[in-house]
């Protein structure tokens, strides 16, 4: 079963922005918040050339990698066509204005 871990308050993540969660192993996780206050979590590594997705521009349910402009779907971690590739996603939920990550 998932182990929900409190990460931060929703307001700690800017709208259309992100925060980085550092793990002791397995690489960083990027937590995104969009304009509708939906929250998503992806491995902070673009499938193209490992760019930090957390630093990209968030729009709709997508983020654009800052290095070479690939668009990655926030819900599934898949690159938007015609690019091909995906990065792993993590379960995340918001309760009472607090963000929890499944680890």
């Amino acid at each position: 079963m998932s182990n929900w871990k409190l990460i931060c308050k929703l307001d700690d993540i800017p709208q259309l922005g992100s925060r980085v969660v550092q793990r002791q192993s397995g690489g960083d996780i990027a937590i995104f918040r969009n304009a509708e206050d939906e929250v998503f979590a992806l491995h902070d590594k673009c499938p193209h050339k490992s760019g930090p997705l957390s630093q990209g521009i968030v729009h709709g349910r997508r983020v654009t990698c800052p290095l070479h402009g690939w668009n990655i779907g926030l819900e599934d971690g898949h690159a938007v066509a015609p690019d091909i590739g995906s990065c792993s996603k993590f379960d995340v939920k918001v309760e009472n204005g607090e963000v929890f990550l499944a680890v």
Binding site: Q15, V21, A35, E36, P52, Q55, H59, P82
Partner: protein, 814 residues
């Protein structure tokens, strides 16, 4: 609730393109049914000629596989011709009795070849040239018969003749006109074309009228007789003497037609529930037979079918290119000219090159090119943009190479490049890969090629070359969008120009207001439009519109330049390239304290600390700020550096105090955001050690004052700055260069460098604003100073207004 029903009559390029555009902007809005008379899915009719010539297969030219219809839940009826449109009951009836009701009807029935009304025009072996069936019949005839006659020396006729010749037939082209392609070429180019086609073995009978086709013993056509009695053998006769729009079906249903289905600028017929696009249409009295205008129509029709109600089709300027391998031919616009036009002609019959440009009121209105068509797309762009060419007139005929660079080493002969030649140096994309993608995926625009191949998607310097490859691969199907009307991104149909104008006119001060007022198709834009809009807002209303960090690229959010490994580079500002021992000591201390792995001197006379972790950025900057240093903006679409030589302060040749002038300029422009980065240089004498000739604004000291140059570029597009004016004092340097930069800030499109802006509007236009109108110049200068009056270090702003915590990662305990 059931969805409204959309029925499309005509499964061809214009109709299906409209459906594609519709699905793009409003998927799932309609239940869609498509009727096609041919038994095939939608294919690229333009590429039938390469199929006939044996250069491509039918399979390669299919644009929408049957799976595409399935995936989009479209009901497709192939091989079913619609017999009746019942507008009262709102349904269509096919010949086999199939009926389909509609809420909206789209007619895209195309055209049919015009069959000359002469005896024998219905004999076996006499065909038009329109579809796969005709092509198959020609291929079949070429295998069995010897003599082919093509009636009509237009584009289609010549392509058919070339294909049949390549398939081994003896081909004669019969043409009524005095020279070939008289609708696309003037006489000189027409004759040159004829000579090269004759070299390929084709025969021509010009100014010849056909009288009858004569039946042979087998029942098939055997000969052709001309007026005057001459007769030649013909086992195959291809009629390519023009097309007739198919509007009988629409006319029979009572829709108003006049040499085509009459539509308004929204592609609507006289029945508001019925739209029409493509070759069957008569728009403002013109029926287009080329594909590019049809695509423009498709976009407009789709927008109105989707219920957005924006976009008007106002007609097209067309260009053509003959798809006969080995023959380079391009024409566009009004290539014949008239009494109120001027012509620039380059004629080299021995070298096989002929170019003619037709100019009216200092604007290009048409052109013909034969033998060297590399610059065709560029001329076409100038024509569509209605660019004033007065300032480049003397070298215009020699092409973009001489006016400005088109790419690396000016290599622009797209058609002659080997398939293995690298086109895009950033992403390693070869010409072969691009051609393959264009053909296999049915790409028509530069943006599509960028997306699918990545060519021209990084630095963009090869965009011109990619456009040429696109043009030479798909011929007349290619048309560049006019820069003024090209949509900003996929979120909108509005152009940069339109967005800028609307922000000013409607006094829009937030991105939300722009999205709402201009009916954005996405909820909050994308990485292309958001930074552009954010810039337009803050540059238009500097003290009113609030900067939106989330609409800025990461570099401008972190005030540092992201590197390939996710670390950042830090560049403290050194005014005019000057520094002090104390500053150097502070930089050295910071580099050691934060374990900076690489320290480098930049091209703009600054020191770059590379490899800084994001979480260290606030601290390293706190240290540097404490030592009196501010951000060098080495990351922004902003003022970067003012590079200086040592000037008259030290140099024995110096005429002006270059360092002091440079520092003054840099202090004036500190924190200035612009459509793209801005670099300046000041040299103290004409030896120009600060390389002012390749800067956005270059200032060169002379004994009597300063010369100001603008629009130079040392990057992607090496461009020598052009002389703007000569001034006497430091104050004037600041006023003139400040006014120019403010003009660029107010009118440039996001990501347009000064050299591109200048190419778009012309140097004369800028001189008119800055030199000839003193009041305007002072006003621009004042607005620049006003918008920068509260300029401060971005780190100070960050500390005051934005939580620094964005830089701090959240640690997850095990």
């Amino acid at each position: 609730m059931s969805k409204p029903r959309l029925v499309l009559i005509g499964n061809g390029m214009a109709g299906v393109r409209t459906v594609e555009e519709l699905l793009k902007i409003k998927p799932d809005h309609y239940d869609i049914t498509i009727f096609g008379a041919e038994p095939h899915p939608n294919y690229n009719r333009i590429l039938l000629s390469p199929v006939l010539a044996g250069e491509m297969t039918i399979q390669e030219i299919v644009l929408n596989e049957l799976d595409w219809y399935k995936e989009n839940k479209i009901t497709l009826h192939t091989g079913k011709q619609i017999k009746t449109i019942d507008r009262i009951k709102r349904k269509v009836i096919a010949e086999d009795g199939t009926e389909e009701e509609y809420d909206r009807l789209l007619i895209a029935t195309g055209s049919t070849p015009f069959m000359l009304p002469i005896p024998g025009n219905d004999l076996p072996g006499v065909i038009g040239y329109r579809d796969i069936k005709d092509t198959d019949e020609m291929i079949d005839a070429a295998a069995k018969h010897k003599h082919a006659v093509v009636i009509g020396g237009g584009l289609l006729g010549l392509e058919a003749a070339n294909g049949l010749k390549l398939r081994g037939m003896d081909v004669t082209v019969v043409h009524l006109g005095p020279w070939l392609l008289e609708r696309q070429l003037d006489e000189v180019a027409g004759k040159m074309l004829q000579r090269s086609l004759e070299d390929k073995g084709l025969k021509f009978l010009l100014e010849t009228q056909t009288e009858a086709l004569i039946q042979g013993e087998s029942g098939r056509v055997a000969a052709i007789r001309f007026k005057g009695g001459m007769q030649i053998p013909a086992d195959l006769v291809v009629m390519a003497a023009g097309i007739r729009p198919n509007y009988a079906l629409a006319e029979a249903s009572g829709i108003y037609c006049n040499r085509g289905i009459v539509v308004n600028d929204t592609m609507q017929t006289y029945d508001p529930k019925v739209y029409a696009v493509g070759e069957c249409v008569s728009h403002r009295g013109i029926a287009y037979g080329l594909v590019a205008p049809l695509f423009e129509q498709a976009k407009v029709a789709a927008n109105h079918l989707a219920g957005y109600g924006i976009g008007r089709y106002t007609g097209s300027v067309t260009s053509t290119k003959l798809k006969v391998t080995g023959i380079d031919l391009f024409s566009a616009g009004d290539y014949m000219g008239g009494k109120d036009t001027e012509e620039i002609v380059l004629n080299d019959p021995h070298g096989g090159v002929y170019k003619k440009l037709v100019i009216k009121d200092n604007k290009l209105v048409g052109g013909v090119m034969y033998g060297d068509t590399a610059d065709g797309p560029w001329y076409f762009q100038l024509l569509k943009d209605k660019r004033d060419i007065h300032d480049i007139r003397d070298s215009l005929i020699f092409g973009q190479n001489l006016v400005g660079d088109v790419g690396h080493a000016g290599n622009s002969k797209a058609a002659e490049m080997a398939d293995s030649a690298e086109v895009c140096g950033c992403n390693g994309v070869t010409k072969g890969t691009i051609v393959q993608a264009i053909k296999a995926k049915g790409l028509f625009t530069l943006d599509e090629v960028k997306k699918h191949t990545k060519a021209a998607s990084s630095c963009g310097s090869c965009a011109g070359l990619v456009e040429q490859i696109l043009a030479s691969t798909i011929g007349g199907a290619y048309t560049p969008a006019s820069s003024d009307t090209k949509p900003l991104c996929a979120c909108t149909d509005h152009s940069h120009k339109k967005v800028r104008e609307t922000i000013v006119a409607q006094h829009l001060t937030t991105k939300e207001a722009v999205f709402a007022f201009m009916e954005w198709k996405t909820p909050n834009g994308c990485d292309k439009c958001r930074p552009a809009i954010n810039y337009y807002l803050i540059s238009t209303f500097p003290h009113e519109s609030k900067d939106d960090p989330q609409s800025r690229f990461i570099n401008e959010r972190a005030h540092a330049n992201i590197q390939k490994d996710g670390t950042y580079s830090v560049v403290p500002r050194m005014w005019g390239g000057l520094t002090t021992p104390a500053e150097l000591r502070a930089i050295a201390d910071a580099a050691e304290k934060y374990n900076v792995p690489t320290v480098k001197v930049t091209g703009g006379q600054r020191i770059d600390l590379l490899g800084v972790k994001k979480e260290d950025l606030p601290n390293i900057w706190a240290d540097l700020n404490a030592a009196g240093m501010v951000s060098g903006h080495a990351y922004g679409k902003s003022i970067r550096t003012v590079k200086t030589c040592v000037g008259a302060e030290h140099c024995r040749f110096g005429t002006q105090l270059a360092m002091s002038m440079g520092v003054k300029l840099e202090k004036m422009l500190f924190d200035m955001y612009a459509p793209h980065k801005v670099k300046l240089a000041v040299s103290g004498c004409p030896r120009n050690c600060a390389e002012a000739g390749i800067k956005d604004v270059g200032v060169i000291g002379v004994d009597s004052g300063y010369e100001i140059y603008i629009g130079g570029n040392g990057g992607i597009k090496t461009e020598v700055a052009q002389f703007l004016c000569k001034v006497k004092s430091d104050e004037e340097v600041m006023e003139y260069s400040g006014a120019f930069l403010q003009l660029y800030r107010e009118e440039g499109w996001y990501l347009e460098r000064t050299c591109h802006y200048m190419e778009r509007v012309g140097l004369d236009y800028i001189k008119g604003k800055i030199l000839e109108d003193e009041e305007a110049r002072k006003a621009y200068y004042f607005r620049l100073l006003d918008s920068l009056k509260d300029a401060k270090d971005p780190w100070q702003t960050s500390r005051e207004e934005q939580p620094i915590k964005q830089f701090i990662p959240i640690k997850l305990e095990a």
